[in-house]
């Protein structure tokens, strides 16, 4: 691995918001499994905030009113929807859980892992992780969600739940063979013969569910490849499978 391929070198550019979207997504994937990186991001963010607070400027007088008027009509994101479901078990929570379970069950051929594993892990999830779960539920429960399933070349099943209305899609894999430390499953949006990086999966294999990075856009399919740790900018191996996404 040469110097520039080491994802740790991206940490400065990441904190400065100087990575393009695809590389930023790849780095955030790496960040999810790299505790020292997260610590470094936290430390270096203090520097950028210092740079950011350097100057002040007065907005026009009516901005305050415009903002306050606008927030009166904006619904706040409830990021604790998942974590609180177990203790609340309120109607809304159950409904969401049911909808998500049904979608997952359809995608996976009828399993209850979604509900139980999600409830177990939610306890330890950071807010960011919970936000990811929420995004996942949003896609799985979208009224226009479509589900496509494909057997992968080296074992395992991949399903893609896509919502054209939301412009997002989710990947649900089961029975994925585990990979060694230096390899990783990478997802791609396929559009007009080009591939856009759409995120990495954990190396553990088995079951995986995540929302793909970036917009669905005009993508006609989702590909899975095996890439060097940290992911690649373009596929370097033959896809294990191409899951088509209905138009």
């Amino acid at each position: 691995m040469n110097l520039t391929d080491d994802p740790h070198f991206d940490v400065g550019a990441y904190v400065l918001h100087a990575l393009p979207a695809d590389e930023e997504a790849a780095f955030e994937n790496h960040l999810a499994s790299c505790i020292p990186c997260r610590r470094e991001v936290e430390r270096l963010s203090k520097v950028t905030v210092g740079l950011g607070a350097a100057e002040t400027s007065a907005p026009s007088a009516d901005l305050r009113r415009r903002v306050l008027d606008q927030i009166a009509t904006v619904r706040q994101v409830q990021s604790d929807a998942f974590a609180s479901r177990r203790r609340r078990r309120g109607q809304r929570g159950v409904k969401l859980a049911l909808a998500a379970s049904v979608a997952a069950a359809v995608a996976l051929g009828g399993v209850a892992w979604w509900q139980s594993s999600e409830a177990e892990t939610a306890r330890e999830q950071s807010a960011q992780d919970r936000a990811e779960y929420r995004q996942l539920a949003d896609v799985l429960t979208a009224p226009d969600a479509t589900i496509s399933t494909h057997e992968l070349a080296r074992g395992g099943t991949a399903s893609v739940v896509a919502s054209r209305a939301q412009g997002r899609s989710a990947f649900i894999g089961s029975g994925l063979p585990p990979l060694t430390d230096d390899r990783v499953y990478q997802l791609w949006y396929a559009e007009s013969g080009r591939y856009r990086p759409a995120g990495l999966l954990s190396t553990a294999g088995g079951r995986e569910a995540r929302v793909l990075d970036g917009p669905l856009g005009g993508a006609t399919g989702v590909c899975v490849t095996v890439e060097p740790a940290g992911g690649s900018r373009q596929p370097t191996t033959h896809p294990l499978g191409v899951i088509s996404v209905p138009a």
């Binding site: 040469n2 110097l3 520039t4 070198f9 991206d10 940490v11 400065g12 550019a13 904190v15 400065l16 918001h17 100087a18 990575l19 393009p20 936290e42 430390r43 270096l44 963010s45 203090k46 520097v47 950028t48 905030v49 210092g50 740079l51 950011g52 607070a53 350097a54 100057e55 002040t56 400027s57 007065a58 907005p59 026009s60 901005l63 305050r64 415009r66 903002v67 306050l68 606008q70 927030i71 009166a72 904006v74 619904r75 706040q76 994101v77 409830q78 990021s79 604790d80 950071s126 807010a127 960011q128 936000a131």
Partner: protein
Amino acid sequence: MDRGTGSQRRGDTQGRRGESADDPELDQLLVHAADGDEEAFAGLYEALVHTVMGLACRVVQDKAQAEEVTQDVMVEVWRTAKQFQPARGAARNWVLTLAHRRAVDRVRSVTAGRARELRAAVREQERSFDTVAEEVEVREEQRVVFRCLTQLARELRLPLVLAYYEGLTYAEVAEALSTPPGTIKSRMRQGLKRLYDCMEAGS
């Protein structure tokens, strides 16, 4: 562009008793705002809007657009306030990180012909950096940041300033400085680390 007057700066520090970015009062306001408390949100707005606007002006270089970014940021703060975790950082940092992200996104969305501006940006940078250094007079913390920035070698300082204040990607910085992209990434990290160490030593 309005860089802010002394009275605006005082307005920005009102109610914060000159405390640093870890001001727990702001954290509390954001936590209350997350529960739908509009009054708490208004307090947070008052405390941070001049800083957010200052950063937006600096990056997008246009007051009207900066104001749109500021509005956008403030509404987003309200919308996603629940995602703020006091244990993981101060409200001020959270809001400013969001503001920088949005400002940079705004600059990048109008990137047509931007490559031409890159070299001009490099020329401008040294001058505008001096301006910033002069203007910093409010918070001791800021003085420390900029004292550290001036002490940084030019090759480490330029990539930081071009990326952070001009909103360039590392690849654009590399092009502007005729330096390999990998080197720029590495210098960005190294520069931020040096700044961090210098700030720690100076505070």
